[in-house]
Symmetry: C2
């Protein structure tokens, strides 16, 4: 067991964790990142990012490399292949972070394990995703790359509908697949979607009771195999891209016994200061309630958590201070 | 008067405004930035930024130029030298943004007028600030540039004490000036500061009843003229930098009649969704309550406001939804 006491251990080395590490280590705090695989997380597989202000266009791996170098310059230690299995508050007030084969002791923790897009599990999904050749899980991020192209979108919830409407602003044609007869998205969204689909010369087609069973193409996505689950008929829908909006899964299984989670597994927090239910444990990024799920907001979340850390170091009682009320307009 | 209706008008073209504009215009909303002077705001005068994740080192003007090009690519319109004098809710539900010589109508507004560091008003302050030659208003940002150098810090509040302690981690010597006999900062902070100053071989000296009357040097800061307000004696304190922590002034005078402000002039908001007291008017960046006052957090704030905008477009009643409660752990 390692006996060094860290000022802060950051769990997860994606954009939020790296943002937190930059600020914490630049503040000269002894900072350790524990990363299950390798730094970067979900963004590593993104070929082109156009919505991180400051970079007109950059790939995920290059951006992460820059951030990683930056935090290491300021002294952040990064342990890869380090899977955290739990957190334990010690009698001393310090926190023990337990890994598979090791355990670390720290004054504070920033949780930034991120989330994963729920996969469809269809053949071709992995192949065309990793090559950046047509499979995407984020319309806000990638819609502009499909200007005047044909795409298929998949899903039935709020995000699926919102993102499909967004795609329809760019794509020449959007075919939306939903496996059931009715959407579970908010009524107002569904109405907007249906109105759009029924408009004259609409570029949006909705296919109910339909699932995608495969994504096919030669080097890049060229069509989606679409099966009607009622009739059993299968059809190839030509398309340049497939957008999969079937949910997000926060990587928070290991936290079930330590911090309060929502039913869907997101870490509950006060959005103003990113405190969780466990004093000394902050949260940043996609894994928390209320996250905007964007690259830049994840990075900034990490920075905000690292800023809030200092309040806690100074006065542990700050943890339960209800400082937010004064910030709000009356009526909120 | 211009008759076009914008989807969103962003007031202030600094980092927060540019972050908001990137997302809003990339979402194909008709977006206008009204900027009093020129895009960039406070960060334009910063010579070296090391804490914007992704850039190891960049100057403020270059970073802003990149962001500005980025938002213009997606269709954001920017009007410079456009000073907003007020906001007015129209009977139609739209919002009128009134400028000196013009007025614009929009569905929603994002306020990002920023804030200014309160100036000392001492000779040399402007000269050595604009040349990046020793005058700074942010220890978190600039302390690492003064590693093993001598600095003077000025102020008496929480930020002044925190930032001075931070400076002492880097500088070989810090002389802190406070114009009164006692600090107004939190007791716990003052104790930490005093303990640090009284430690053997401390690199921190506190001078009470002392003000800085001039910053002097040849091309760069070399000394501060320090006057004891009780005895009247004046002394030159050699230093490579002067850090001025005498407060921040949000640029919100023009909003007095439209949105709720704190006594200090910050715009009240719900920190989760950045809504102000006026439906349809969001806020982002240093001018709001609870802001972390960092470059990256300002940019991300703009992005979050642009994301929240969509909820409002979809359903104006969302404005008063108390969605935050479910996000929080019990006891908050």
């Amino acid at each position: 067991m390692t006996q060094d006491v860290y000022d802060v251990i950051i769990i997860g080395g994606g954009p939020a964790g790296l943002g937190a590490a930059l600020y914490a280590s630049r503040d000269r705090y002894k900072t350790l990142i524990l990363e299950k695989y390798f730094p970067g997380g979900q963004i590593m597989t993104t070929d082109r990012i156009e919505n991180y202000p400051g970079f007109e266009s950059i790939d995920g791996a290059s951006l992460i490399m820059k951030m990683q170098n930056q935090v290491e310059t300021f002294g952040t230690e990064i342990k890869t292949s380090a899977e955290v299995t739990g957190l334990k508050k010690l009698d001393s007030g310090l926190i023990q972070v337990v890994c598979d084969e090791d355990a670390y002791v720290t004054r504070a923790v920033i949780l930034s394990p991120g989330s994963s897009y729920r996969k469809l599990g269809a053949p071709g999904e992995e192949e065309f995703r990793s090559a950046g050749a047509g499979v995407s899980y984020c319309g806000t991020c990638d819609a502009p790359f499909f200007r005047d192209k044909e795409v298929v979108s998949i899903g039935g919830g709020n995000t699926a509908v919102e993102e499909t409407l967004h795609l329809a602003k760019y794509a020449s044609k959007v075919t939306m697949l939903h496996r059931r007869e009715e959407f579970r998205a908010a009524r107002v969204l569904v109405e907007e979607l249906e109105a759009k689909a029924q408009a004259p010369d609409s570029n949006l087609v909705i296919r109910y009771n339909s699932v995608c069973t495969a994504i096919e193409g030669d080097g890049k996505c060229q069509s989606a195999k679409v099966k009607n689950v009622k009739t059993g008929t299968v059809e190839d829908v030509p398309c340049d891209g497939v957008f999969i909006f079937v949910g997000t899964v926060p990587n928070t299984d290991f936290l079930k016994d330590s911090v309060e989670l929502t039913e869907a597994g997101f870490i509950k927090c006060d959005t103003a200061r990113l405190r969780t239910s466990m004093p000394g444990v902050f949260v940043a990024g996609d894994c928390r309630t209320g996250a905007d799920m964007q690259l830049i907001t994840a990075v900034a979340d990490g920075v905000s958590a690292a800023m809030a850390l200092k309040e806690y170091y100074r006065d542990p009682n700050w943890w339960t201070a209800k400082e937010v009320e004064d910030m709000q307009p009356s009526g909120f």
